[in-house]
Assembly symmetry: C2
Homo-oligomer: 451 residues x 2
Amino acid sequence: MASRHVPNRIILTEDQVPKQWYNLRADMKELPEPLLNPGTMQPLKEEELYPVFCKELAHQELDDQTRYVDIPEEILAYYKTYRPSPLHRAYRLEEELGTPAKIYFKFEGNNTSGSHKLNSAIAQAYYAKKQGLTGLTTETGAGQWGTALAMACAHFHLPLTVYMVKGSFNQKPYRRSIIQTFGAEIIPSPSDTTNAGRAILAQSPETAGSLGCAISEAVEKAVTTEGCRYVLGSVLNQVLLHQSVIGLEAKAALELADEYPDVVIGCAGGGSNLGGLIAPFMRDKLLNRTDPRFIAVEPASCPSLTRGKYVYDFCDTAKVTPLAKMYTLGSGFIPGANHAGGLRYHGMSPILSKLYHDGLMEAVSYEQTSVFEAAAFFSAVEGIVPAPESAHAIRAAIDEALRCKGTGEAKTILFGLTGTGYFDMAAYEQYLNGSMTDIIPTDEALANYLP
Amino acid sequence: MASRHVPNRIILTEDQVPKQWYNLRADMKELPEPLLNPGTMQPLKEEELYPVFCKELAHQELDDQTRYVDIPEEILAYYKTYRPSPLHRAYRLEEELGTPAKIYFKFEGNNTSGSHKLNSAIAQAYYAKKQGLTGLTTETGAGQWGTALAMACAHFHLPLTVYMVKGSFNQKPYRRSIIQTFGAEIIPSPSDTTNAGRAILAQSPETAGSLGCAISEAVEKAVTTEGCRYVLGSVLNQVLLHQSVIGLEAKAALELADEYPDVVIGCAGGGSNLGGLIAPFMRDKLLNRTDPRFIAVEPASCPSLTRGKYVYDFCDTAKVTPLAKMYTLGSGFIPGANHAGGLRYHGMSPILSKLYHDGLMEAVSYEQTSVFEAAAFFSAVEGIVPAPESAHAIRAAIDEALRCKGTGEAKTILFGLTGTGYFDMAAYEQYLNGSMTDIIPTDEALANYLP
C-alpha cells in the first residue's frame, strides 16, 4: 500500500460525491440524552421546537432513527459550487517532520466563506426558505458562522440578523464588513433590541458580551418576530448531520487512495466540524469493523471536555434555551480572550459528549502559543494559513506524527482543516512579535461556574 | 447549444490540464518592441539580463519564437495542489441581471495566497532554486504578489526580501503579517537599505512610497547581493507566459461546455492576469479562426491604456530598469489612493500594449465607486467577495451583460476573477458607509508626467 502513488490533493468526481447525510445517532448503541424543556424537565417534543426552529430542522434535531437523509436537490446544487472539498496528503509536512506517518487533511477553507460552516448554513437557509419563513436570526463569535450564513441567506434572498459578540464586533471590523457585504444586518451584542440584551446592559453597560448572551438575544428576537426563526452553527444534532458531508467525502477520498485512518483529529468548540469529520469512521468503530482513535482538540482556555462536567446545562447565558446533557464549564463561564473565537463555547455537542463519556473518543487541550507555533510552521510548509481554530487540530496532528517518528510507526493520520485565517492576522501578528500569552483558568476560577 | 446543461463549476480532470505554457509572441504578426538598454539604447541581450533575472527567466523574457514551453515537473506538481482552478458559470448573476448573456468567470482566488499571482511566483521561485540562487527580492503594492511569492519561496526554502510600498505597509498590517507568516523579510519602502531608498528619503522623509520606488530598491538590493536576483509579478513577457495557464484552462473548460467566448474581459494593472487569460483566444483571432472581442479594464485613477502614451519608458521611478515600449503615464506618475493597489502601475505589459495599439484589444476605465457597487452586488449574488482589482472586470462584464439585455443577444462573456478581497475589507467598509470617493486625474495633472 505504501508504494502506491497518492496525489497531493484528492478530489472526488461528481458521481463519487455523497448524496445523503449520515446520522450517527442511528448507529449509537447508547443515544445521547434528550433535550429537556427547562419548565417541565421533560424531553422536548418536536412541536415544542417549532417556535424556535423551522419544522424540518426541528425534526432532524430529534430524529435519531433515520440513518441516511437525502440531501435536497437545491442543496446538492449549491454544494456543487464549492464541493467536493479537497483531501490533501501533506507530503511536505511529513518531510519536514521526518515522520514515517502519512498525514492527510480535509480542507474546508476553500469556499469563499472561508470555513466548513457553509455546509450547514446553506441547509438551514434552504429549509427556512422552503417553509416560507421571512427572516432568520443567529449569533456569531469569531464570525465564521455569521459569514457563512450571510452567504447562504443571500443565495435564498432571506433577510438575516446577526448578533455579533460586541468584543469581536469591535476587534474584527473586517468580519463585520464581509457579513454586511453579503447583505445581512449585524448588531453588536448585548444590544438594546432585546429584553435579554437590555438586562445585561443595565447590569454591565461596558461588557464586551459573550456567545451565550448573543444566543439569548438571537433566540428572543426570532421568537418575537413574525415569520422568523433562529439558527445555530454548531452543538446541535442537525448541524452534525449536515456536517457529515465532510467525513463522508474524506472517507470516499481515502478509499481512492487505498487508505484508512488510524487516528482522526479535529478541533472542537461546539463540535460541528469534529462531529461531521468522524461520523462515518465512528460508524465503523461502533459496528466493530475498524478501531481508529478519535481525538478532540480544545483550547486550554476553554476546556469543556477535558475539565468540564457531563451534566444537563443551558446552551445560553440568559437560560432561555432547552437544557442539554453535555460536557460544560457552566453556562455562565466566559473564557479568557483566546484567539480561537470559534472554540470559546462553554458546552459541547451532546453527541460528542456522549461518545467521549463512553470512551469512544479522546480529548486533549493546547495552549494558544503552542497552537500558533504549529500554525505558522504549517503555513510556511503547506502554503495554507489556517484559522486559529483549525490550528488546534494541526498541533495535535504534528504531535501525533512526531510520536510516530519516535516509534517508527507509519500511522495514517487524518485531521480536519476547517478554515483559513485571513481574518485572524492580528493574532498571527501577536504571535510573530512575541506578545501572545496563554490563558489557562485555575481550578478555582472554573469552580465558580461549573454546574 | 443553449439547451445543453452546463454545470455551475467546470473543473478539468488531471489529463485535461495543460502541461505547457503558451507564448503568444510566437503567433503575433508584429512583435512588441524589444527592451532597450538605457545606456546604449540598443535591444537588450539575454546575457545583459543575467545580473537581474535568473538565466532561464531571462531566456523566457526574450524568447519570442518558442510557441509552447514545457512546464517543468516540479511546477506541475505544485500546480496540482491548487489547479486546475474552477471555471464558473454565473447562473445567479445572469438571473439577477435578467440578461440573455451567458456569463463565465475563471476564478483564480481559490488558492490560499488568494490570487492568480501564484502561477508565476512558483515558476520564478523554481527557476531561481534550480540555478542555485540563495535569495530573491521583489516589491509589492497591494500585497497579492508578495503573498504569493512568499508562499512559493517557502516551498523551495528560498530566502525572500519584499519591499512593500510604505503606504500599504502601514495601511495593511495583515498583508504584512501573512507575508511574514510565510517566512519572508518585509521592508517598508523607501528604506535606508538601498541608495535609491536613501535618496528618496533624503528628499521626502515623509513619503508613503510608490511601486516604482519599491521596484528601484528591490532591483538594487538584488544586483548588490551575492547569489540574489530580482523577480517581478507582472508586466514582463515571462510572467504573461506563466499566466497563460489561466487562459489555456479556461479554453479547455469552455470546450467541455461546448462554448466559445464572444467577449473576454480582464482587469489590467501590469497585465499579468489579462495577458494570461486572453492568450489562447487571441491566438485564434491572430490566426483568423475566430473573432472574439477583448476588453482591458483599468481604474480611472490610473488609466495607462486609455489616457497614456505608447512610447519607451522606464519601468521604475529611479530609472534603473531597462526601457520598455508600452502605454505609460510616465514613470514619475503616482496615482491617487485607489483601493485597487494591484492596478496602480504607471505602465502596461509591452505585449498587451502592442495588441491594444494594433486594434486587437479594447480598453475601458471605471471609477472605483462604480467598481465597488459591482463588487458588493456580485458578492451577495455569487458568494465570492472579489478583490477590488478583479471587481473592475466584474463591472465591465455586468455592463456587457446589460447591453445584451437591451439588444436581446445571448453573447457568451468570459471574465477573469483574479482574487479574493479578504484583505480589502477596509475598502468595502468605505464603500458600504458611503465615504468612498473617486479620484480621476485631470489632463493637466497627467501632462506633468507623460513622456
